[in-house]
């Protein structure tokens, strides 16, 4: 299934393979976008408070297998948009399609890695990873097998029977990642997944995420506050405007893959960061009024 997709994508790539430096992940391989959001709008209407328009006129396209990051001022609706994609929030307007089909609710082709991990404290690591499979009705023996594989993949073997409170932040998020991968979704939604981790754990998790993404061939939508993180991981970075969130600009990251930590020390990388920063800066000023 996956191999067929891959060959299909290679054929449809407009560039010759030699000239294409996104050897595995060029979003242009698929001429039709895998995820397509058009004119998405969402307004929160809390009781006894003024309504907040989180998203308005948001357009976005994601290619199959692409690693796409969303950055933007805090409160610009990045997380809201991920929750809309996940199917937990219904937009007031607009159209979101995945592989041509309209998203109306949660589905097995999407899974989220949550910022605050969202592990069930009464379940062991193994049982947490099994959650999605369990809800899907997969028989117990297959669940165990699949989950054990993923626990190994994220480097947590030996911790299958630990409870979340016995794990460090980095380990918890590995469980979160394994749980999201367990149901073998095509799309991985990641909502500031490493924001709660310390800097070194974060660096390590980024590398591991890149490796896993490379092997598992998922489409990733990654929300982050970190320009560096976005530049390092992504094929493209989308900068959103201050609330209500819209796409302000799309920045292609022309760095070769596989990427390593040293790449972050190069001048090219700094140029990319500067580009993203300059785009983002205007929005930060618009939001806070500082530096205007």
């Amino acid at each position: 299934m996956r191999d067929r997709n891959l060959s299909l994508r290679v054929q449809s790539c407009p560039r010759k393979s030699g000239a294409c430096n996104f050897s595995k992940t060029c979003y242009l391989r698929d001429m039709t976008p895998y995820i397509q959001a058009q004119n998405v709008a969402l307004t929160f209407r809390p009781k006894n408070r003024d309504p907040v328009t989180a998203l308005q006129g948001l357009d976005l396209e994601v290619g199959k297998g692409e690693f796409l990051s969303l950055v933007g001022p805090s409160g610009c609706g990045k997380s809201t948009f991920l929750n809309v994609l996940l199917g937990l929030l219904k937009p007031d307007g607009g159209d979101i399609r995945l592989d041509g089909k309209k998203i109306t609710g949660p589905g097995q082709e999407r899974a989220m890695v949550f910022q605050e991990f969202g592990l069930l404290p009464w379940r062991t690591v193994l049982a947490n990873v099994e959650l999605g499979l369990e809800l899907k009705g997969v028989p117990a023996s297959m669940r165990h097998q699949r989950s054990s594989e993923l626990i190994k993949l994220v480097g947590l073997n030996g911790f299958e029977h630990h409870y979340p409170h016995e794990l460090s932040g980095g380990m918890k998020q590995r469980v979160g990642l394994a749980r999201a991968l367990a149901t073998d979704p095509d799309v991985l939604l990641m909502d500031e997944p490493f924001a709660a981790l310390d800097a070194q754990t974060r660096d390590l998790m980024q590398l591991e995420l890149l490796q896993i993404w490379d092997r598992a061939k998922k489409t990733v939508l990654f929300v982050t506050h970190s320009i560096e993180e976005a530049a390092y991981l992504s094929d493209r970075v989308i900068v959103l405007t201050a609330r209500p969130g819209r796409t302000k600009s799309v920045i292609k990251i022309n760095l070769p893959r596989p990427r390593d930590y040293e790449m972050r020390l190069t001048a090219d990388f700094n140029d990319i960061k500067a580009t993203i920063w300059n785009t983002l800066k205007e929005e930060l000023i618009a939001r806070t009024g500082y530096g205007a």
């Binding site: 404290p121 009464w122 959650l131 809800l135």
Partner: protein, 262 residues
Amino acid sequence: MALKEIYTEYQRPILGLASVAGLLLAWELVLTYLIPVNPFFFTKPSLIATAFREQVLGGRLSHDLIISSRAFLWGFSCAIAVGIPVGVLMGWRRRAEYTLDPFLTALYASPLIALAPLIIVVFGVGLVAKSVLVFLLAVFPFIFNAFAGVRSTDRLLINVVRSFGGKERDLYFKVILPSTLPYLIAGSRIALGRGLVGVIVGEFFAASEGIGFAIARFGDTYQLPEMFAGISVLMIIAVVVTEGMRKLEAVLAPWRVGQEAR
């Protein structure tokens, strides 16, 4: 050195038992040597122990206990069976909360034991009236704690289960109930104390057997050691069951072990 290690290991039971033994000893010594007591008005541990032994050997005690615990178990089981679903429903469905809240708050806040005479008039002397009394007293901690537990359920975890395609049923069984469980265990400790009050008071008012009846009768006839024997039995039962619940919590909610702040 070895003694010290044993002490550190078993600090809790050692200190607990020592304080109880110290109190009993002081009671005994004071009444034996300092204040010669009139046995008509007060008693001391050695006399209570003798009375206790006689009651156990005579079979009277076990008979009373069986009678009382039957009423307790009926009332308490019904309290669990009714209290938890009602509390969970109130916590999850706003309409249920708003509808039931005035009654429950009024009933919980008022001394329900005042209803004992009425209940005895309606249900007669015996098992049913006592069970109803236990139920009325024990059901509220279950309702309110189940309610509080559901309300404190982490919204994120609900979203997690929803995002993996979980239905309403999955939310109840995979998130709401497990996260409510520690509240229910805490609630059952409160319910236990209230339920015991229900049995005993029921038997004070109208009964011909049972541990509460025995205590009341011994009190009426100034048989203080026998009366204290009955009271001690109640205390021992309360302590044993409370400890049992602590153990039960460790088994049912192992993820909470080791989370204490101390």
